[in-house]
Amino acid sequence: MNKLKLNILYAFLLLVNINLTASDNDSLYFQFEPDSVNLEIGDSIKIKVSLLKKDGSLSKNQFLLTGEWRSVEVKPWISNSDGIANVQLKVFKPGSFNLNASSITDDRFKRVRGNLSIFVPAPPIEKVGFIDPPSTAYEKTRIKFLAKVLDKAGVSRNDIKPTFESSNNSIASFDDFGNLSIKQRGRVQLSVSISNQRNKVIFSEINLRIFRNPVRKIELSMNEGSYRTGDVITFNALAKTASGKEITDVPIEFSFTGEANYGIGLPASGVVTPNGKFVAENPGEYTIYATSSGYTSSLTVKIKPRNIQKRAELIGHGLITDVFTSDLWVWQGVDEFSDRDFAVTGTWEANGEAYFWEVTDPSNLVIIDTVTVDARTVNDVKVSADGRIGVITREGASSRKNGVVILDVSDPYNVKILSEFNDGLTGGVHNAFIYENHVFAVNNGRKYDIINISDPTKPWRVNSYELNTPGHSIHDVWIENGIAYSSNWSDGVHVVDIGGLQFSEENRYTIMNNPILQSAGKGSVRSPVLMTSKHDTTGRNHAAFPFLSESTGSFYVIAGDEHFPFGLGEIQNKEPANPRGGYHFLNMNDYKNPVEEAIYQVPEAGSHNLWVQGDTLYTAFYQGGLRVVDISGELLGDLYKQGREIAFYLSNHPEGRIPNATMVWGPQPYKSYIFFADMNSGLYAVKLVNFEDNED
């Protein structure tokens, strides 16, 4: 039967059924045979679905059958004219689903619905095994065992907790967390197991031979010195025999106790890592213990206050209250303006304006020009390193053709629009960066486009960088030394070689000190090359900023969160927002295996944009204001608690767009000042001064 005939038949049946449904639908109900199904991924089953009258007879009413797209396949979707469907059901994902049936009717009030619950368990576990287990061990030690659980689909299942068992608990026994306490010499068989959905035990076994422990003492050492909160101290522990021979394969555990100086009552808190790195959060006396084989050694250290705090003194303020202020950029003028300093700020959900300021005298911030484009939000503003070209981003253009606008800012008093570029960028550009005659524009949250502006009046797209993960999304990109650091929400930080510095005498030290640059150079703007990435399990990655520590030589990418956990409407209702989040320090010394080593987050405030200069972090913490943080030395643990915060400034202004509400968007250290933009109250310049300094 051809399609036309089928359609005519369906239309006819529908008309018939519509009348029937309207007359007696109150008594109709669906019957599913079988009435419950448990399927495994990929399974198919035949289901008979009938739409019946109260007396059990067929309704003669057609109905539709649906299941969740890409999870449940239903064929056919429509019943026959009697009200029966023999459907083939196939499932593709684990979870709880429904086969939904609904009668076809033109009287929506009389539509009958029914459903059959379908449960599809996760794929059965196929394999469990120890991860890198030892084959030998020493008595009177404790070893942490890890296990990997794989299901039939080859997916690692961290939701399944395996059971660890020893064949002889008098020799060695496990706790619930995989820690094996080894009591005496001998041989034991260790197993790790799980019970899968069919109550079948899947397990893996290893043999462990336990030797006499020759360790008779632990020697613990550290570099003598004066230590402050936040300083990372490395403790070296050596396990030795009675004759003094070092035993290198015996596990040593570290712990600490302490007594804090009574200041405001904070406890003796800190972090000690499995490899003996210790950092204290509060001043006091701390004792670090190294333990193995029933022997312990300890050292006590005195931790002094970090004492780096300064006061952020307000130097100047340019109040903006009629619109929300977004990002800022500060730069030195060129040509006849080369002895002057300027800034540009964007506007958010407003009139499509960018304001240009003269900031040569930071105590007198004055708007000197305004560029207006067709947009609601000019979210980002950037100026080229040579101070001549600016780029502003557009969102909410009335033509729905957003893109970027390229500016001549060489005369900041008369900024000229040189060109617009919206080809393929119509969805909106949220952030952009200028690097070596190219604009990197975040295109509709999906990718960044690389646009050549060698001739800024005729920009053209060179290439794009886009992730290939399902549902990927990007927020921002920052370029330094030919490396693009993009922030991609749940895909985290991507480090991409877009033309890493070429080796030269001039660049020698920059390259040698940076593990990323040492391996870069294969990529270009025409052919970006991914060097490394770090997934963000929270999905909050909003910013990424490179940081080469001047004091240690370690290379980090600081990954910033953006997180609004408390619902909708704060800004729309002109009520202060209440975001959260922090900055994650990803150590990239081994750049292919980034490790998060430290975090800075202000309790009950939300991280936004950041800047690093030297070993100082400048952060916009939204309602927590501007924060200036000492990130010198090795970084470990919770930096906020370690007294590393140098200064803060709360830019709450009584005439702000939301009065008395701090909402700092972004900072930029410039010369001896810190400029920052507050959404509610405009542009600020502050200076760090010692506490004993007078206001003047």
Partner: protein, 364 residues
Amino acid sequence: MLIFRILLAVIILLGTIKGREYFVYVTSESQDEVHLIKFDGNNGKIIKDIPVGVWPLEIEGPHGITVSPNGKYWYLSLAHGFPYGHVYKYETGTDKLIDRVELGLFPATMQISNATGLLYVVNFNLHGEHEPSTISIVDPEEMIEVNRIETGIMPHGSRITNDGLKQYSVAMMSGTLYELDVLQFEISRTLFTGTSKHKHMTHSIGSMKHRNMKSHKMPKEKPTWVYPHPNDKYLYVVNNGIDNVVEIDLNKWAISRKFNTDKGPYNCEVSLNGKYLVITYKSAGKTGVWDLKSGIELARIKNTRRVTHGVVISPDSKYAFVSVEGIRGEPGSVDIIDLENLILVDHIEVGKQAGGIAFWKMSD
């Protein structure tokens, strides 16, 4: 008894004076808000602002809005996600968020079928590459997507016949009208929307091989909207690119009439009594009211902002509610046009970039 009669007379008189009230939802695409508007026949006002979206510092772009046929829920498409957009379900009256479902890129206009009860949403993919996009079919009870059908480039204007059996959309950058069989979940017919050359594309979608169309020439018609006549015999397709609206005879599956419009027609709607065709002229900032029988434009009314967007007509065929965008920081507006007297009765300032508009209810 006399007092009772007087009271009754006063009540009736007051009732007459008070008149009918109309309730309309309108989106502000650049402000992430939906406004509920009440109009009493003379004056309109916002009675509620409803913030939408989940990301306070990103504009997520509420675009399409529709009210369920039973009036209990309203559905809103938010164009921008990470990267996919969503359709949100709210309860009318309380405007409480019920649920949401993730769909494709830039989900836009949508409607629920009277026959199936399913919601048909076009994934406009306005800002993406020029590649074929889709219609998402959503079970609005469970808020799950149950199917996705490929159509053309930038599909828009999802509207369903009154019998609920056919859904129509136009692919702006394909210049094509698509007819979806809501029961079969497949495209049953396609039609080129221009008049310069008729391209009857009656083959099935499976044979179109869109993915192989590497170089795509944009049609000058750029159809942006389609609306079925209440009698389900005709469709009205807005050709935004060539300033006309064409009438499609559904039996003949061919253009039967052409209405030359002002600049940049964008949306349209036919009154339930079948008398008026109201067309928004986006580029001209005006709204045209046409007499469908004679094919004559009765009035061309200047709107209160510069970018005229959507239109919805009250079920009594008396008033057209037109959303108008404005530019930059300018507020949007809803212009209310009296279709019998052909005058602008009132306008209400709403949030920026007023777009999707949907009729909720009338009350006496």
